[in-house]
């Protein structure tokens, strides 16, 4: 009880003490919170993107089969479908048609694709939300395409996919098979790759080996490998940004070191007064500890809350160019809030704890001096 009353009294004094130097302490708090905000934004963002990628890929086929010619991905004959279908354990095998289309007017690459089912007429397309945003002017609601042999065709945009799938569909244009073949030049009887659904996912490794045995010029890719690639991609991007932020973090610690540790003559005198009127060294250190805790904890919570709002409610405006999308077409979507407590705990121990310790050490140096100096002040 006495301990609680003591801490309450120290905290009370700490707060009024901090308020006396409000310009200095508020600027310190804001810079500190900004650093936490940047770091936790990256953490939240990469974590949410990974979750997003995982959930998007949840329904994707267990295996993709590509054909490899000269060590490179090549078109795969549709006749391969039958051979893979004969392998026990596969539930369905479908050819996939997809590619990229460069639109010179917007200087943007779009992904063009034939969906499993496309019930619309051949002269229509369905587009991702980002396509119409960037395409430029339409002609009577139609998009102008050039086929692989230079012929011009106009396709009507009839449907736009929602923002919720924007991470993967921002640049996507869906069309019928015949239109796709006209634009891409992929001949009849060939596809880009084959998607294979497997009844029991645990058998995927065996089916992969059987596929390679039956069709030696193919390269099967399992879903878990794709997920792993996505995760390492986002981790790499997040890591890249964090490396850049290390500079900022270091600059902050130099600033904090200077502000928190450079006790002014006034502060030294105050510590002398406190000791003179009956505080002992541990009381002074406790007061300084609370000072460090108040600043660093407030900055931590301010930064983390701001980052949460920034990432999940403002689409991470500051980072999206670095962390999501490619080319010049950036997806626009809201991430589902997801927090990794382990990462937050690490951030806490890398920021709050060092700062609090930083503030105590120089105080200790002053606080261990004999209080009689105050008599001579």
């Amino acid at each position: 009880m006495i301990w609680i009353e003591r801490q309450r009294a120290f905290l009370d004094f700490t707060l009024s003490s901090l308020w006396r130097r409000k310009v200095r302490n508020l600027s310190l708090l804001m810079i500190y919170a900004l650093i936490i905000f940047l770091l936790s934004s990256v953490i939240f963002f990469t974590h949410a993107l990974r979750k997003e990628a995982e959930s998007v890929l949840k329904d994707s086929p267990e295996m993709i089969v590509q054909r490899v010619v000269g060590g490179r991905h090549s078109l795969i004959p549709i006749s391969y479908v039958e051979k893979i279908d004969q392998i026990r354990g596969t539930s369905s095998v479908r050819p996939r048609l997809w590619g990229y289309y460069f639109h010179p007017a917007s200087k943007t690459n779009y992904t063009i694709m034939v969906p499993e089912e496309f019930s619309q007429p051949d002269d229509t397309v369905e587009t991702g939300a980002g396509v119409l945003r960037t395409w430029g002017p339409l002609w009577k609601g139609k998009l102008y395409f050039k086929t692989h042999d230079g012929e011009a065709i106009l396709l009507k945009a009839i449907n736009t996919m929602g923002d919720e799938t924007d991470l993967v569909s921002a640049d996507l244009i869906l069309m019928s098979e015949s239109t796709f073949r006209k634009i891409s030049g992929i001949p009849e009887g060939y596809a880009n790759d084959l998607s294979v659904n497997i009844r029991n996912e645990r058998e995927s490794q065996t089916i992969m080996m059987k596929t390679v045995k039956a069709l030696p010029d193919t390269r099967p890719i399992l879903k878990k490998e794709i997920i792993r690639t996505y995760i390492s991609l986002f981790d790499w991007r997040g890591g890249y940004v964090i490396v850049l932020l290390w500079g900022a973090l270091l600059a902050f610690f130099i600033f904090a070191w200077d502000k928190a540790t450079g006790l002014s003559a006034e502060e030294k005198t105050e510590i002398g007064i406190l000791k003179g009127i009956g505080w002992d060294t541990s009381d002074v250190l406790m007061m300084k500890f609370w000072e460090g805790v108040v600043i660093s904890l407030s900055a931590f919570f301010l930064g983390v809350i701001a980052a949460y709002v920034h990432v999940y409610f403002a689409s991470a405006t500051f980072f999206e160019h670095a962390l999501k999308g490619w080319s010049i077409l950036y997806p626009k979507f809201s991430l589902r809030p997801s927090v990794n407590p382990y990462q937050l705990a690490i951030l806490f121990f890398l920021t709050v704890v060092p700062y609090t310790l930083l503030t105590i050490v120089p105080t200790w140096k002053v606080a261990i001096t004999e209080p009689d100096l105050v008599m001579r002040h």
Binding site: I2, G276, G278, W279, D280, S282, V374
Partner: protein, 222 residues
């Protein structure tokens, strides 16, 4: 009874700027009296008071307070003794700027673990008694010298000490305020407190409130 035996204090011992502030003080001071240490600047008055008040340790010698030896106490117990037994009134008041009169008054009680409400009530009653309650929420630097002096007195009394140590308490006060302060000291004596004052102000040592004068020069009692 406060007993001092062979108290010496040397600053920067062994260095070229070595200074012997106290050169062997043997003294007995009665409790419940006003004792005034007089002497010129540099005679060792302040050093002796700071050693008496457990603010610093003598280089050699011992002090007993009511039979209890207080010179070799570990830092924590020295601070506790300083807080609970002594109340200090410093020459320059040594109030903490930027915080209110009330908070300044309450400060010495914070480490005691007393309930906040109790500390606050006690501070309010002291400020009322000293006639500065109306300024309790003002930052101390807005107060006049005499008012700051009274805040320093209230602060010195917050832990109800039995001994009050005042170092040149009238140095920044005019005659009227100095007389008012001596009246306050007279009141403390009536309450049974021991008052140790260092001063070279004639108003203090010629005052009837002073029970005993102790002259010092060059670090010795003369």
């Amino acid at each position: 009874m406060i007993q001092l035996s062979g108290i010496k204090k040397t600053f920067n011992g062994g260095k070229s700027n070595e200074f012997k502030a106290l050169r062997g003080i043997d003294l007995e001071v009665a409790l419940n009296e006003v004792s005034v240490f007089i002497g010129p600047s540099g005679s060792g008055k302040t050093t002796l008071l700071s050693i008496l008040g457990c603010m610093s340790r003598p280089t050699s010698g011992r002090i007993w307070l009511s039979g209890r030896e207080i010179t070799s106490l570990p830092e924590r117990f020295a601070a506790e003794t300083r807080r609970e037994t002594f109340g200090f009134i410093f020459q320059n008041y040594n109030l903490i700027k930027g915080i209110s009169v009330l908070e300044n008054t309450m400060l010495p009680a914070y480490p005691t673990g007393m309930k906040y409400r109790v500390i606050r009530d006690r501070a309010v009653s002291l400020l009322e008694k000293l006639g500065i309650m109306s300024k309790s929420e003002e930052p101390v630097e807005h107060l006049s010298g005499g008012e700051q002096q009274r805040v320093a007195i209230a602060r010195a009394l917050i832990n109800t000490p039995s001994i009050i140590i005042a170092d040149e308490p009238t140095a920044h006060l005019d005659t009227e305020l100095a007389q008012g302060l001596l009246d306050i000291f007279a009141g403390f004596r009536k309450e049974g407190k021991t008052i140790l004052i260092a001063s070279h102000d004639a108003l203090v040592f010629e005052s009837p409130v002073a029970d005993r004068l102790i002259s010092m020069r060059d670090g010795k009692i003369v």
